[in-house]
């Protein structure tokens, strides 16, 4: 997460351009946009739907990100495909040709309605030890920080970094807060934090440098659950403040 944004003044790619870059000998990155925003996200979603629908053989997994999709593939299976056709090509060349066909004239296509997931959060106190600090930095009260955070409409741009971790867009700039000087060694699972212009929920206990403002009783990631991740790319997220008692009841 700490490496999410490295802003520089490098010129942005033309957004209309679709780019294929090998990610080693068993994956390819398809770059579809050049900035992190909802329109980039819609193009990524649309491309993902097209590729999924095409059900090309040899694809192991599709990993969407802010501006790209990685296609992990099995070169042996793609090579097997090749022998039945005529064109001489490497597995990479063959797959990219197929993907180009599938993504031909990709545009801002209608997408199914986004799911909205409500995440109850107990803000402040022991569960959100940095809430007061965040408030002080912005000359707000703790309640105001909570109100701003809980009124946001967030979008899950991508899942990555750790199992079930959702990169959320939509944090109000009034409460964007730089990461802490010294990261904590163990942030409990379910902790809600703010790091720079990002907000998110730690799915697992992990080291972390974000400002911890609360905790949800929901399991963001549970390996034993039928669907282990609470959030998927494309979901909308809203945070709802709950009391400490509600938090405890939820857990029991």
């Amino acid at each position: 997460v700490d490496s999410l944004f490295h802003y520089s003044n490098l010129a942005r790619l033309r957004s209309s351009h679709m780019n294929f870059t090998p990610l080693g000998d068993s994956a390819v990155t398809i770059t579809l946009a050049s900035s992190i925003d909802e329109s980039s996200h819609r193009v990524v979603r649309a491309a993902l739907r097209r590729i999924e629908a095409a059900a090309l053989p040899g694809i192991v997994d599709l990993v969407p990100a802010f501006t790209s999709i990685a296609v992990h593939y099995d070169p042996v299976q793609i090579d097997g495909e090749l022998r039945t056709g005529d064109e001489p090509a490497s597995p990479y060349g063959h797959l990219v040709a197929r993907l180009e066909e599938v993504l031909h004239e990709l545009s801002d296509e209608p997408l199914p309605a986004a799911r909205t997931v409500e995440i109850p959060v107990c803000y402040g106190g022991d569960l959100g030890p940095d809430l007061d600090d965040v408030a002080r930095q912005h000359h707000l009260t703790a309640d105001e920080v909570v109100a701003v955070h809980a009124s946001g409409d967030y979008l899950v741009y991508m899942i990555g970094f750790m199992p079930g971790f959702a990169y959320l867009g939509g944090l109000d700039s009034r409460i964007a807060t730089p990461r802490r000087q010294s990261p904590r060694t163990a942030v409990p699972a379910g902790t809600v934090g703010i790091g720079g212009s990002q907000t998110g929920v730690y799915p697992l206990v992990s080291p972390g440098g974000w400002n911890l403002i609360g905790r949800t009783p929901l399991a963001i990631f549970d390996a034993a659950r039928q669907k282990p991740t609470l959030l998927d790319a494309g979901d909308r997220v809203r945070f709802r403040p709950i009391s400490v008692d509600e938090f405890r009841d939820w857990r029991s």
Partner: protein, 336 residues
């Protein structure tokens, strides 16, 4: 067959070929670090290549077998013995009932694959029995083995039974096969290796000096290397200009360049996405060479084309397929 762990070793985990289809959920692909050793060890005992086996790092475990068991070791030479007698790698071995498999010092390489006929039993988590230590799932409660653990082997295949029968086990000495995996299936491990690298998304953005250093300088494996990634020490590398980076997917063998300039080779337990420039991608066929490096060992990179890397990939797969076929022909199921 049940196997009692008497000593856990430094870090012995149950591994298979991982869970590569769950990366979109942020779940690391995981699995064996040296996939060739893992697959060959399984083939040697008549298992499916993806069966779960043990991966032992540097200091191997001590394991007591309650029954006569067909096993195979591949990958690192960690000085394995059964009741004091040396156990060869890359060949099937019948371990007598009541015998103990022990390991000594790391002679070559870093990680030994220990396959057992039938494969090691463990619950499937996201389609894999592999241990993911960081999130503590897979294998035995998501952790490395420790004394007192008892592992069960799954039912051996008929091929496994044929191979075991051919070794005329049943005595008190371990019995080796008179045959072993061919040279094509044994990666050329060394503590100073040349690793073939495919151009990465941002290789062209390295400074001229860094681009030269990437392929001309030796890098040393840092002590903070693990199943997640290998940190390399050596000449610091830099891009010509800082670039705007968005987190996106990475792969097994992606070479990332964090701001400090010390590259990291992402390994089996890598995160699914990363936000650093990608200055190279290790050819899959050379990943076992990296997986067997210990802290303090060295590597150099040599650039190859993607087409060449894919050719090598397909050749290795053909060799593995041939080995499977040869064993199946040599031991027709059910005939002893």
């Amino acid at each position: 067959v049940s196997i009692r762990i008497v000593g856990g070793g430094l870090q012995t985990t149950i591994q298979d070929l991982g869970r590569p289809t769950h990366q979109h959920e942020g779940i690391p692909a995981g699995g064996a670090m040296d996939r060739v050793a893992h697959r060959v060890a399984n083939v040697l005992v008549g298992n499916d290549e993806a069966a779960a086996a043990l991966e032992a790092a540097l200091i191997g475990p001590t394991m007591l077998f309650d029954e006569q068991t067909l096993i195979a070791l591949a990958g690192a030479d960690l000085d394995a013995t059964v009741d004091g007698m040396r156990v060869a790698r890359w060949t099937p071995t019948v371990v007598p009932a009541g015998a103990t498999l022990r390991f000594g010092r790391a002679v070559t390489g870093c990680r030994a694959s220990i396959a057992v006929a039938g494969g090691i039993e463990a619950p499937l988590v996201f389609g894999s029995r592999g241990t993911y230590l960081r999130a503590a799932f897979g294998g035995v409660d998501g952790r490395a083995l420790r004394p007192g653990d008892v592992l069960d082997a799954r039912a051996p295949s008929r091929l496994s039974e044929s191979i075991a029968a051919s070794l005329r086990g049943g005595g008190v000495r371990p019995a080796h096969g008179a045959w072993s995996a061919g040279a094509a299936l044994r990666p050329a491990y060394s503590n100073d290796v040349i690793v073939r690298l495919i151009e990465g998304a941002h290789t062209a953005e390295l400074t001229g000096a860094s681009r030269d250093a990437l392929t001309e300088r030796r890098f040393r494996v840092s002590p903070s290397s693990d199943r997640m990634g290998y940190r390399l020490e050596g000449e610091a590398l830099a891009l010509r200009a800082p670039r705007e980076m968005f987190s996106e997917a990475v792969a097994f063998g992606t070479v990332q360049l964090p701001p400090g300039g010390a590259p990291i080779v992402l390994m089996a337990d890598r995160q699914t996405t990363g936000g650093y420039p990608r200055i190279g991608e290790v050819a899959s066929v050379d990943l076992p060479l990296v997986a067997q490096l210990k802290p303090g060992d060295h590597l150099r990179f040599r650039m190859i084309s993607l087409a060449e890397a894919q050719q090598l990939f397909l050749e290795l797969e053909r060799d593995l397929a041939q080995a499977r076929l040869a064993i199946a022909l040599r031991f027709p199921a059910g005939r002893h």
